[in-house]
């Protein structure tokens, strides 16, 4: 085995310190009798030295403030925001504790409830549209998406076709509440979410518009369900989308 011919791989492994000990002698004697190969190996070593000399010192520089862990933790407070969002939505929708929510709703006007609900949904929207890897839990092409969300929310959840608005269904996720979050994506990467949950509240309300910076939302209640459509703050477009959602839930097979 130790007498086997030296391969190209072994030359690299020799330079990278990855060569098995029992092949070192064979490689070294091969290099001793092959000056051209020895020159090649020497050049690879010189490359490594040059790379390390040029970039190695970067690791000795003090870490800039913006890369310090506590700063990053603030930026990445997605986890904390996630909990805050979950808490806000659960509070709004009352599924976590019916009596508390009922009391809460009793003391508030429709407008205030819709606003708080929209704020919570905007937060959820912001949080998940910026997720690159896991914006959703279940993809649109998985058949169980809507049955799963419907079962958890306790009412049929629908995902209307929004192709006219240039939006394609990405999928959905479940938020505490339980609340369904359905996400669509446009060709230029813009994302629109529909948040939907059961609420103790009866009756219906008009669309309430809410805007926070570049995100807009329309919230409404309809027959024991609370809805929020959130997306880029273009009022007219969100209005059209909200109407689509509204109509989808008006369909005759609605329980």
């Amino acid at each position: 085995m130790t007498d086997a011919p030296v391969t190209e791989e072994e030359l690299h492994a020799y330079v990278d310190g990855a060569l098995p000990a029992d092949r070192i002698a064979a490689v070294e004697s091969y290099l001793a009798s092959n000056p051209a190969e020895a020159a090649r190996v020497a050049e690879w070593r010189a490359q490594i030295s040059a790379i390390r000399a040029r970039f190695g010192p970067v690791a000795d520089e003090p870490v800039p403030e913006r890369l310090q862990l506590d700063k990053i933790l603030l930026r990445a407070s997605g986890l904390r925001r996630k909990v805050a969002v979950a808490a806000a939505i659960a509070l709004m929708l009352g599924a976590a504790g019916g009596w508390f929510a009922r009391d809460f709703f009793n003391g508030e006007s429709d407008r205030e409830i819709a606003r708080a609900l929209a704020d919570a949904a905007i937060e959820a929207h912001r949080l998940y549209i910026n997720e690159v890897r896991h914006p959703i839990e279940v993809r649109a092409d998985e058949a169980h998406l809507l049955p799963w969300l419907s079962r958890r929310v306790g009412s049929p959840v629908r995902a209307p076709d929004l192709a006219d608005e240039g939006l394609k269904l990405l999928g959905g996720r479940l938020l505490p509440g339980p609340t369904a979050l359905i996400m669509y994506e446009g060709g230029n990467g813009d994302r629109v979410t529909i948040t939907c949950a059961r609420t103790k509240r009866e009756g219906q309300t008009a669309f309430k518009w809410r805007r926070m910076d570049d995100v807009g939302a329309l919230a409404w209640f309809e027959s024991g369900l609370a809805f929020v459509v959130a997306g880029p703050a273009e009022r007219e477009r969100l209005d059209r989308i909200a109407r689509r959602v509204y109509s989808a839930y008006e369909a005759p097979d609605r329980r």
Binding site: R45, A46, S49, R54, A59, R133
Partner: protein, 174 residues
């Protein structure tokens, strides 16, 4: 709800400690990869944010390869974005002020690296700069070890050809 609460604790988890310790190495690798200090630190920042968000998905294993994998994916996304812009053509002219390039060798290796195809530059830096094993480099790049070997071999040959054609003083670095 209650199940979510423990994640709120800003606890110094093992992942966080490990991440903090690896920041210098991530910066070094990102700097070599992007050749621009600002871009490199942006990349490291995004890597850290992403890692902390996905912290609960890290199932043990090697933290360093996990973090480098995240960084490479972010860098590839960034490059795809840049490639759509017509202005992204000049790579040799990048010469950040205050960098130790005055002796010529630093700039020379930079230029050589800049001319390599992306995946060859990645593997050479993972192995030569970060001292990763072939197996680790394969894991980070998401390819078989054989692919790592052939990329490394081509990277070294290309760098050698470039530097010889350039009458460079690289040899003197030894």
């Amino acid at each position: 709800m209650a199940a979510l609460m423990p994640r709120m604790e800003p606890a110094m988890t093992a992942v966080r400690r490990g991440l903090e310790a690896l920041v210098p190495a991530l910066r070094r690798f990102a700097r070599a990869l992007s050749r621009d200090a600002e871009t490199a630190d942006d990349l490291v920042q995004d890597t850290m944010v992403r890692a902390l968000r996905a912290e609960h998905l890290f199932q043990g294993g090697d933290l360093r390869t996990w973090l480098f994998t995240i960084l490479l994916n972010l860098d590839r996304n960034r490059r795809r974005g840049l490639a759509r812009r017509p202005t992204f053509a000049v790579v040799e002219d990048v010469d950040p002020p205050g960098e130790p390039t005055s002796d010529g060798t630093g700039r020379d290796i930079e230029r050589g690296l800049a001319l390599l195809p992306q995946e060859q530059r990645e593997v050479l830096l993972l192995v030569a700069l970060e001292g990763m094993s072939y197996r680790e480099a394969a894991e980070v790049q998401g390819v078989p070890i054989g692919t790592v070997m052939s990329r490394l071999s081509r990277a070294r040959a290309a760098l050698r050809a470039h530097i010889e054609g350039d009458v460079s003083p690289l040899r003197s670095v030894r």
